[in-house]
Amino acid sequence: MIQKVRVQTIVGPDLKGDGILNDIHRMLGIKNITRVSAIKVYRLEGISEKEAKILAEKLLSESINQRYTINSTSEESKPTSEVKSVIIEIAYKPGVMNPEVTSIIKAADDLGIKLPACDSSFEYAFYGSLKKAEVEKIVEKLKLYNSLIEHIVKDEPQTLILKGQPGKIQTIPIRSLNDQELRDLSKDQLFLNLEEMKKIQEYFAAEKRDPTDLELETLAQTWSEHSGHKTFKAELLVDGKKKEPLIDRLKKEALKHDKNIVSAFVDNSGVMDFYGGFGICGKVETHNAPSAIEPYGGAMTGSGGVFRDIAATGKGAKNIASTDIFCFAPIDLPASQLPAGCLPPEYLLKRVVSGVRDYGNRMGIPTNNGSVHFHKDFRARPTVIVGAYGIVPKKYAIKDKPERNDLIICVGGRTGRDGIHGATFSSGEMTADTYTTHSSAVQIGNAIEEKRMFDALLEARDQDLIRLVQDCGGGGFSSAIGEIGETLGVTVDIKNALLKYQGLAPWEIFLSESQERMIVVLDPKNLKVFEMICKKYNVESTVLGKFDGSKKLKVYFGGKVVGHLDMQFLHHGLPKRVLKASRQSSVVSRQIKEPIQPKSEEEWIKVLRKVLSHGNVCSKEPIVRLYDHLVQGTNDLQPYSGKNLDGPNDSPVLRPVLSKQYGMIISHGLNPVFNNIDPYWGSIWAATEALSNFVAVGGDYKNASLINNYIWPFPDQESLWSLDRSVDAVVDFMKIFKIPVISGKDSLSSTYRGADGSVIKIPPTLCISVLGKIEDTRKTVTADLKKVGSTIVLVGEMDKNLGGSVYHQVNNLETDSVPRIDLKLLPKTFDAIYKGIRNGQILSCHDISEGGVISAIFEMCVGGNCGVNIHLGGVTSSHLRGGRMGSSEVSELLFNETTGCFIVEVKDEKVAKQLFKNIPYITLGKTQKAPIIDVKNFFSAEVPNLKKVWQKPMKEMFS
């Protein structure tokens, strides 16, 4: 028997209900709904009504502002004065984990009531003159639920307990299949090509047997693009010329610059040297595929996954920061331009932000760096990039080699059907059907499960119990166990795995990507203490198997063998690809001859307002405020500072050890627009922007390491050509600065294919992230202007090209010359900025990026709550590389996006001369108390007015 408790908030605003009502009025323009109220519903199974009453009173409701009913019909629970209402209940689908359930069962137990099962959901009462079908339409239109994981409750459930027999083990007669049948088997399930399928066929022919479903799935997972990185490992023929595999080029160059490397390319994150016997590590991942179809769950599991990569570095690192970088279509994209099967950008952005918020905040990991970018071609698939950073004592930074008889233990969450085929799915392209056929690839994260697991693992690490920790990410057990067992071989019995519910087939258990699970390897003598620590933190653990020296992957389900694969074949049987790359389209030069220059003050201000309100430039503060960016108390340079705490900064500076003054700086850079126009210079721009952000707060680039993420369309010849150019750019960048890439990831499936044959390639995007160390966090600066009467200087050499800039975008100009950066000069510029900050002569500093010089100056004025007086009279010589600086080219200077250039505030001209004697710089003018940006002879604009347009877009969306 199920007891149904309804709880309604009766004092104070009904935030959920009011929010929905507001959306109905604002977004749908439907006026005949007068009120929406939200009622929380709890179903409690296996207890008496008397017990339900105790729980309702003590646990589920609070008498101060709520009231509850038990087993009433919906009609009774609503206020009598209002009769006309339509009730819609939205609940998780059976089998989708509801994170609240564990807590309810625990608290009931604490109150002395054994509760066998329960669930919670929301009931919405819509008041007004509408029929049920009309209300259901509204619910669909507002996407109040995601049909992948939630449903509208039509019939009362009879039980909440999922039952089932273990699924069957199937054998696939692969040996007898012809080519077409092999293709059919692969399609939509295995995502392997014919050559790979044939290789598998050969293997089993030699073994004289057919594979089980588990074996085939394991191979497909291990050989997927997601896990196998086939493109990065392939031999390349670029325009007919043979080139080394991409990954080899990156590794070779990176390892030349190993001064600070603790571990690179071998672990779940890259580790660099820090102070006090510590290393710091970083990992950045994309989570595009799940986020495209269920943005909330997708963003959550993206965060959860990348945090686990940090926790699974060496013997376990502690997460200390998180970054989030998103690319969407413009919010005002007309619905008619949205491809079939794709979700609107506003919905995606809001839900992704909520997912990051709810996971990161609950984990207690500060989210303090990120950005949002908009481009029309992200309409088919967003790019969601999540990064995590950690600290680890160097003695625990490297995994031990497992020994024979070492135990393989699964800790954390239970295994369910969720996330199955995530790794293979994310390697596939998005189609109009993606939304419906891959629903099991999506799940809801449970941050608390992960948090307590991390707490336990760090304690076990500090007692030196652990040989290694491995994440159960894409591919689940099959990937984690397959990887760690590669050299020795393992025997596991997956019947030991703790399940969320019965009914899973062995292959589902082995492939499940249920979140919040990790694999730990222990010497058997440490098992007891390890289990005690897990118990202390309420973490479940179970022994799955051991290392056996067989060089095989042996998987049992109880007594039954369900998989027996050669490790050699699993890991090295994948045929190496030779891929062709060629430049397909010859680039038509779309240079404009004359710079477009606003002709009057009015025009200047108009275009400036357009630039500042552009999605890529506007203030993201309302998003940052939703993230707990202060937890852990480590943040010595925060995302926003200044007189009104609304001036943005370039990078956070953290003090991961509270009692020590040494710190860590994190930054990133990317520009999908530049990348799309010019893969080489766009990539150089991204890397320069990332490192400039690092330097702008006081970092020494020599103590920085890089992380590279390539988010590319499916690598056809043309996209592979641009990918090759991008990798060349990263290699050249490492060469110039003598610093390494220590971690990275590729996601090469950003192509959309519509049912009508239409193809949309998402802009290729290189995201470079930077982590580095600084001896003293006090020797850093923020971007807010500090004093009245200081001198404002533009440091570095600007390129005259504005192709792809926001200025060109708002003027609807399509040109193909992106800013090129003088890489020879750049190290000198970085050195000068670093020294000027370290010795206290630079009072504030901001790097030039999207929106250009004037936007950087504007943001500094916002922080200082002041203005600047700019005089360009003296700027007549060739300050722009490749161009002349005449009065008609002022717009080319002010909207210039050559990154690697900085706006700095110094005391006076003398200081500038001394600091920047070896590099180009332009004295722009002086700071002034009046909050006005005054560009002599051109325009004068009030900062508060500009601030309003700059803040408006995100304010409207997030408050």
Binding site: E62, I64, S103, S659
Partner: protein, 262 residues
Amino acid sequence: MKPKVLVLKADGTNRDEEMAYAFKIAGGDSKIVHVNQLRDGSVKLKDYQILALPGGFAYGDDIVSGKILAIELTSFFKEELQKFIERKNTAILGVCNGFQVLVRTGLLPFREIGKMRVSLTNNDSGHFECRWIKVKVNNKNNSQFLREMDNEIIWLPIAHGEGKFIADEEILKEIEDQNLVAFRYVDENGNPTMEYPENPNGSLNSIVGITDTTGRILGMMPHPECFVRVEQHPNWRRGNITKPQGLPLFENIVKFVKEAKP
């Protein structure tokens, strides 16, 4: 002897390390203790003088914030807590999620374990919010924890989604009459405010935090433990932030339990 501080942790607690650090630099001997260690008896509340309940999302803040941990405490430690608060040289500090737990156990405001009198509910904005705000000590509250903090505007960070202080009229009056309000959200002139975002959640009477009638139990939404070094303030580089304004609270608490007689 340094006073012993028990920083209580449960699944999802996350500002425990900062809390322990703040008490440590204020002269306390902090230990982070999981609630399961109290339940299995390996750690005993009676061995401690200060109980600190840090921020975070204990048990995910499921149902409502702090509820599940509050039920656990009142179900298993009613007597121990009663004895603890009866010792006159003890102190309890609950910050953010810890404050939410304290009101749900009934320890605040009237020391009635198991009787909830006030609540902290969803911010009026409807969402989680992380920002620096200004508070002022209610100088009528004579808790020793607040001494010499009442002459200035204090900057502290908040990071919560459920921080709106509510109570029915009668209880609110009682709280005011007995001067149990510890801090209020203020504007730049130091006046209590109901304006967003200075008052970030819509708390009645601009209430930031309250004490019990003895002044030995304090709960508050902002995080003093995140302002114990000058560099933690976003504007320390602008020159007008000269001291960490969260630290005196911890020093006062440590000093109080050191000096007080049992």
